[in-house]
């Protein structure tokens, strides 16, 4: 499913002292099959944007009406807002949001706080039961829950009858993710999936996402402000700042704009920082900013220059 947004704007609490423009004329296309990163710090509009993707935030009615209103003569019509996810047109009121939500899975920040059921099995099955048109048999549910739990790396037999509140933090998060992917959405959107985890936990979550990207969901969209996470994992990334999109580039090219990103108040990956520091000392490393590639290139450079250590870089 291809995601297309054009001239998308969103204002919270319009016409009140709390009014804030969260999105300003955002245009962004996410191709099918991508592992897409969305970067930006708090309040940059990234969460607002992803919540549009499965209709949790709907376009304000005035926008939806633009289509029908004919512009007067001589008046420049406002740029038409477009928001399409696959074949779903989200500017249309009659869109089947249920079907949309089935194909666009959304994992919120700290998803473990949405667990509620008595057993892990019931919690994971919640979305499954909600989305299926007819009543599923216990065997069907068991099979789907088992598959979802296994793909997130949990043992079905051991987990199914446990209370989700008795699990560890990392296990809870896995169960919560399983509860979203159990319906096999085509697009999986995750808001800060690694927030609050230790480095090992973060690594495991990112590995899980790659596995999901390979086996379950065609497109994965990850919202993050951890640049290392983006540079290591994504095929393409968009940078949000103050409600608009500044860059849409593969990380390899994006982090060449290290100075501009820093000016926007964003961090850059450690590898990019090292590249900048090395460049200042006359050592040009041309890497794609993943740790592996960076180390390889540095070692190659060192070998080529006779292992000279003089620059103490």
């Amino acid at each position: 499913m291809r995601i297309v947004a054009e001239h998308l704007s969103y204002v919270y609490n319009p016409k009140s002292p709390f009014e804030t423009a969260a999105l300003k004329d955002v245009s962004l296309t996410i191709e099918e099959g991508e592992f897409f990163g969305i970067i930006g710090h708090t309040g940059s509009g990234k969460s607002t944007f992803v919540q549009h993707l499965n209709g949790l935030i709907r376009l304000p009615s005035s926008l939806r009406r633009y289509k029908k209103k004919k512009p007067k003569k001589g008046e420049i019509p406002p740029p038409e807002t477009v928001l399409r996810v696959g074949e779903f047109d989200l500017t249309d009121k009659k869109t089947d949001f249920r079907a949309l939500r089935k194909s666009v899975g959304m994992v919120f920040q700290y998803p473990e706080y949405q667990l509620f059921a008595e057993t892990v099995r019931d919690d994971v099955a919640f979305g499954l039961k909600n989305f299926s048109a007819e009543k599923l048999s216990d065997e069907q549910i068991d099979a789907a829950v088992r598959a979802a739990l296994e793909v997130v790396g949990l043992d079905y037999g051991e987990m199914k009858d446990k209370s989700p509140f008795d699990l560890s933090g990392g296990q809870k998060r896995r169960v919560a993710i399983a509860g979203v992917i159990v319906t096999r959405p085509e697009v999986l959107v995750l808001d800060e999936p690694a927030a609050g985890l230790d480095p090992l936990g973060k690594k495991e979550v990112m590995e899980l996402l790659h596995k999901l990207h390979r086996e379950w969901c065609k497109t994965v969209v990850v919202v993050s402000h951890d640049m290392d996470e983006i540079s290591e994992n994504c095929t393409k990334a968009a940078v949000f700042s103050e409600g608009s999109v500044r860059y849409v580039l593969p990380p390899k090219e994006l982090f060449r704009h290290a100075d501009e990103l820093t000016a926007l108040g964003l961090d850059v990956p450690l590898t990019a920082k090292l590249c900048t520091a090395l460049a200042k000392r006359g050592v040009e490393i041309d890497c794609d900013f993943t740790t592996e590639d960076f180390i390889g290139k540095v070692l190659a450079y060192w070998a080529a220059h006779g292992g000279r250590k003089g620059d103490n870089a």
Partner: protein
């Protein structure tokens, strides 16, 4: 849910916003007394007039004020309907068994509905124009006399301010959990009453857990800062009575006097 603004502080600078919270609290009490003292439409008209003035001076948009009434529309309509049907009046318009619609019933219902509406608007004006912190300071200060009988006024004020502080937090939290469950296909808008109540479980359980978690965290944070709630605590902002408060006090006094006078000299029932 995002529009749950009933009773939430509306941050603009105005004459009413700057009043001493103690005075606003006393004024509200006086106003409520006045509404219940008023035994005819003249008295209520005076009350309504004063309210219009307050709204004008508070710079709160009229839509916001009316939204406060919207929350209790059901209650108002319900009581009005009961009164219309069961009030025993003399001028009967229609009658079925014990149910009858009378002229007096209609008038009385209108009177009651107006009374309720004024009550709600006035109390929500207090929370629109007063920050929760100022409000609790006001309550604490007004309840000071109770300290003599060892009543834990300070603790009560603290409980109140924490409760007020967490209303928007919990509303946000509800919104977030609701969105998360909606993303998993939860449906809160269709089905009969029983079904809808059942649909709330996936929201209520996480919400309750998060409320407990927050309470625990807050308790820990307060203890870590050695909070004991002792009597020696000083205040960052001291409440002071100013010229504005004098004016408001006079308006309040005039209102009560006016209503009482009208009760005596215009004894027309409604």
């Amino acid at each position: 849910m995002k529009d749950v603004s009933f009773g939430q502080y509306y941050p603009v600078d105005s004459f009413v916003h700057r009043l001493d919270p103690r005075l606003k609290l006393l004024f509200l009490i006086a106003y409520i007394v006045a509404i219940f003292l008023a035994s005819n439409f003249y008295g209520l008209a005076v009350c309504a007039g004063v309210l219009v003035f307050i709204v004008a001076f508070a710079r709160i948009p009229i839509g916001k004020v009316l939204r406060a009434v919207k929350g209790v529309v059901f209650l108002v309509v319900f009581t009005a309907a009961l009164n219309i049907l069961f009030y025993n009046g003399e001028t009967v318009y229609a009658e079925w068994g014990i149910i009858s619609i009378t002229k007096e019933g209609l008038i009385f219902s209108a009177f009651l509905a107006l009374r309720l509406a004024l009550l709600v608007v006035c109390s929500s004006l207090l929370t629109y124009t007063t920050t929760p912190v100022a409000l609790t300071d006001g309550v604490e200060s007004l309840l000071t006399p109770l300290k003599w009988i060892r009543f834990p006024v300070h603790a009560l004020a603290l409980v109140m301010s924490i409760a007020l502080r967490f209303i928007p937090v919990l509303i946000d939290e509800t919104e977030r959990i609701k969105n998360a469950q909606k993303a998993r296909g939860a449906d809160f808008e269709s089905g009969n009453l029983f079904k809808r109540i059942r649909a709330m479980v996936p929201i209520l359980v996480p919400l309750l857990l998060s409320a407990f978690r927050r309470a625990e965290e807050l308790g820990d944070a307060m203890e870590a800062r050695c909070y004991t709630g002792s009597n020696q605590r000083t205040k960052y902002k001291k409440l002071r009575f100013g010229w504005r408060d004098l004016i408001a006090f006079l308006v309040g006094a005039a209102l009560i006097t006016g209503v009482v006078l009208m009760k005596i000299y215009l004894p027309a029932p409604y």
